[in-house]
Symmetry: C2
Subunit: 293 residues, 2 copies
């Protein structure tokens, strides 16, 4: 059996045509460089995607498209991602590259590598873009423009697989490809993404007002935008990354208690110090982001 030539037009399966998978499909079909299969349990989403030419063909049964696909992009919830790979293990084409898009990497990568066939490669991925919308109707081809795509390579990954995923994601419009370990990814993401979502939800749950219109401004809108959360997805992500999330929650709670104690004591000097310390940290992160971007 011959090797896949990744320089040719590829067959790409997108599994799960929700907001992420749908946006991948819309962008890839617009590029027209590859042949796109859509795989979804929802036949209606497949029909919609086919009708607007976001995919070339749609399948509820994954067997046929997987047997022909050089690259498989999994756009499923964490639990479904593992189940899909497990249930379809015999169906993947020899030499295929599977890339996932789950927001937490350590568990999913360990679980999948534990059951993976030797002749296929699995690359952990995380597109740093999203939307409060759910399903194919919310998908837009611009979703990933200028966002970063995180790859968490392992020693067992072939270098060529990582390069191939990188190339596809650049074609799709990601502005930056970041490579890091699954552990660093999960630790950092628990702070930069998971904690803000838990803060936004907790802030809303602590709200005693029915209406704050006219009595709020940008800072309120920015803090509450992500309270519009997909509870089924995010509950999985929080539990998948439990230790990191709890560590970050603890640190934040301690800082909030600290500033509360300072205000209670009316210790103005300490309060100014705390505010300036937070401001300096923000400035440090902004500086380092500019250097590294």
């Amino acid at each position: 059996m011959e090797e896949i030539d990744f320089n040719k037009k590829l067959n790409i399966s997108i599994v799960g045509l929700g907001i992420i998978g749908g946006s991948f499909a819309l962008k890839l079909s617009e590029l027209g460089l590859h042949y796109i299969y859509g795989i979804d349990t929802n036949a209606e989403s497949l029909d919609k995607a086919k009708n607007i030419k976001a995919i070339n063909e749609g399948f509820v049964d994954a067997k046929e498209p997987l047997s022909k696909s050089d690259i498989i992009i999994l756009c499923l919830y964490p639990n479904d991602t593992l189940n899909f790979v497990q249930n379809n293990m015999p169906n993947f084409k020899k030499g295929a590259i599977i890339v996932d898009t789950v927001g937490i990497k350590t568990n999913i990568i360990n679980n999948i590598h534990g059951i993976l066939r030797d002749d296929i490669d699995f690359v952990g991925g995380h597109p740093m873009a999203g939307s409060h919308k759910v399903g194919f109707d919310g998908a837009v081809k611009e979703l990933f423009n200028n966002a970063s795509f995180i790859i968490t390579p392992l020693d067992v990954n072939k270098a060529s697989s990582i390069e191939q995923v990188e190339a596809i994601m650049k074609q799709i419009g990601f502005g930056k490809i970041v490579k890091t370990s699954p552990a660093v990814h999960d630790d950092t993401i628990s702070f930069t993404s998971q904690l803000p979502h838990l803060v936004s939800i907790s802030y809303m749950n602590s709200c005693k007002f029915d209406d704050v219109s006219g009595l709020s401004s940008n800072s309120f809108e920015e803090l509450t935008r992500i309270a519009n959360i997909n509870a089924n997805l995010w509950s999985q992500l929080f539990l998948e990354n439990k230790e990191n999330v709890i560590e970050k929650l603890d640190s934040l709670i301690n800082e909030l208690i600290n500033v509360k104690d300072i205000i209670t004591a009316e210790d103005k000097d300490a309060l100014i110090d705390v505010l300036n310390k937070g401001k300096a940290k923000k400035e440090e992160l902004s500086r380092n982001a500019k250097v590294n971007d």
Copy 2:
């Protein structure tokens, strides 16, 4: 002595040419409807403002412009606002209207009404717009466009004074004038504005990373933007509204501890419930804002 005719071209003093006062000056001078005095302890700011025609005349000594001003807009820090009114009590023109812009209303209004001359009116105000920038160089004439201006009228205020402040603020471009009591203002603002700033600062102070570039997205930027805080100003505002701020901090801390306990217990159903409850609260506030806007 004749009454001021507020339908004529007015003399307006803007006290404090920082980001707020400077933006008022730029917008009012562009409108060209009134004669604008700038009052500031910093002669350099006055020169800059005069040179770009943001004010007609600038004064370090407030006595002369105050004696001629029909309306005085105070754009000073909380502590300076009270001191300025107290120190200049003999200097105000008979019948003048003073409006302030301090972000907390109960204390400032009580303090000023306790010392106010009978022949002048003091109206509490709060422009719901700001910037992380400091000083006249950060001022822009568009700062207040479509923002809301909150007025906290008291029974002792003349109805005509409230109307006059409302008229000026509409001229300046505010999209909405909201009237509420000082107590409701301070309670609500402690939640919608002060708590987000303390959360942003505490979040930054809990950050153990030196660099998160490529590993963060919009939610991180939105939560941390306001960590770029003016510590001298905000420390006064937090302490001025201590009881309300502590109440809101307590509620948020309790919610964060609650969600932490749920994640620790891996109680997925409870976690989904908490996320959906926060999402529902966000949706309720968005609905009510649309009805009332």
